[in-house]
């Protein structure tokens, strides 16, 4: 299972200056646990992590004191938001939340929580979300083929079975991450899946640059 142990960890910077920058904030710990550059991926991370703790998505680049290199995944637990800047109960499902300031903090450890372990788990979740998105993007004609296949314009095009296979893999990954909270157990479950599905394993090896 060598390929599952050294997944890519991402600092969370936007691809270009001026692109949106997001922070996943945990209110009990009063700090950020993950920084990302993608809104939809952030929502998926938040949804998958629901059985662990609630996370709130802030748009960092809207803060008054934001600068491009201020905050990343190496130091995010040392940053928090303006106290009382939003209502935790009512804004859980809302659009990205804004904070006036990003404030430097010393992370609280009332829960005996291993911050590096939590951050690693979130990186792990994000890694698999990125991979499940990547497999759909491998075929540049994906959307066109899918449409043609749906409309049954050409009998010889059977694209749905491939899409079904990718969707089934995505469902499997999301369910595994939702119900497990341990990287080792997840790795075991995923490698069992790969042992029965060489196509997905090869795609994963390509994605991680090991093929």
């Amino acid at each position: 299972m060598y390929f599952l142990q050294d997944f890519d960890q991402n600092l969370g910077y936007p691809k270009k200056f001026g692109y949106p920058h997001y922070g996943l904030y945990q209110p009990n710990l009063d700090c950020f646990l993950l920084i990302t550059d993608d809104w939809h991926q952030s929502i998926d991370i938040k949804n998958i992590t629901i059985s662990r703790y609630p996370l709130f998505i802030f748009q960092l680049d809207e803060a008054e004191n934001y600068s491009a290199n201020l905050i990343d995944n190496l130091c995010c637990e040392h940053w928090t938001v303006t106290p009382g800047c939003f209502d935790f109960v009512k804004t859980y499902w809302s659009d990205p939340i804004l904070t006036q300031q990003l404030i430097s903090t010393t992370p609280t450890n009332r829960f005996d929580l291993d911050f590096s372990k939590e951050k690693l788990w979130l990186q792990y979740v994000w890694h698999w979300i990125r991979f499940t998105q990547w497999i759909f993007k491998q075929d540049k004609w994906y959307h066109q083929k899918k449409l043609i296949s749906k409309l049954k314009l050409f009998d010889f095009v059977d694209y749905n079975s491939k899409i079904d296979c990718y969707n089934a893999f995505k469902e499997f990954i999301y369910k595994t991450l939702l119900l497990e909270s341990n990287i080792a157990l997840c790795n075991q479950t995923i490698s069992e899946f790969f042992s029965k599905n060489s196509e997905m394993e090869i795609l994963y090896l390509i994605y991680t640059g090991k093929a």
Partner: protein, 367 residues
Amino acid sequence: MPTNLYINQSVFFGRQFQQQKNCELTYHTLFGKNWKFLKSCLLNYPQTSSWYPRFGSNMPGLHTQTLIDANFGINFTHDVGLCNQTFANVTDQRLHQLWQTLSDKPWLISWSGGIDSTVIIVSVLKHLTPRQRKNFAILCDPSSVWENPKFFYQYILPNFSVVDSTNSYMEFEQYKNQYYIIEGDPADCIWGYRAVPYLGELANQPWRNCCSDLLDRLTAGKNFDRSAAQWQIDMMEYNINSVDLPIDTVAQWYWWFNYNFQYIDAVMRKVVQSAVPLTDIEQYFVHWYHSRDYNCWSVDQNINFPAPGVPELYKHQAKKYIAEIYKDNYFASFKGKGSSNARIGNPYKWVAIQENQTFCYEFDNLT
């Protein structure tokens, strides 16, 4: 024209009602002349369709005595101090009391995946045998499972039959004669928390001395008119002054707002959403937390042991109770209201209850 005792006030501000020019509803169940502010306040609490003070406290221009006297009153002066029970004791007794009186039909427990409805299931798991548990079914939908998937797979699926509640409101007619429907309402009013865990140091400040900070909190990050929030504070002050309870801190202010003003709305939710006549509520629904013991516990806790503004203590007695069965450190430390996915929609029907309490008007033609 008979007097209306209850109207889900928020519908007054809906577009449909504005277009219904011939509607003859009287407005006297609203707060005097402060329509503008009430509208703003109700819009700021999207899960709330009405504000009514409970019997025993006063508000100007509000006439709900008969309704609340019969169903939702509490004698604050008399009941405070009588509760020397823990949350666990009150919960265990509630189960035994209900099980003794309502065992002629199976129970359908409505589970949202949140803390309050999980407490009900844990009490059943703690005290009833597997044979007895065959008389229970769990009403939930995919969003409930998503909110607490581990509890669902470890404790609900192996022990209970499950009913998909995706269309439960539509299928109410089917369920009502088959089951007692157990609801986790009005737990949030009993706890009175919601925002309190995140108040920080403000929680223990005297609210009369820090109205500006309270205003900031009420309007934080929202499109909530500051003058309407000030009206809410003034209204609360009038109401608090009418009861003989030491409601002094910001945390107690929040508790009192939930406990006193949103309680009736929570218990009336089924009247509004499912058009169940008020007189039939007790026949079909059991509001688990709507009991004298829970009310006394709530007053006792919030007056004598006001909640500190730290999120990990959010409903911590309930989490401790759940932990007797479900040992999950993340749940115990982090589970909060923010992630709750209880399916509480805004009401789409207009409901007016008149003096004799037997009439429940639905204005379907307005939808």
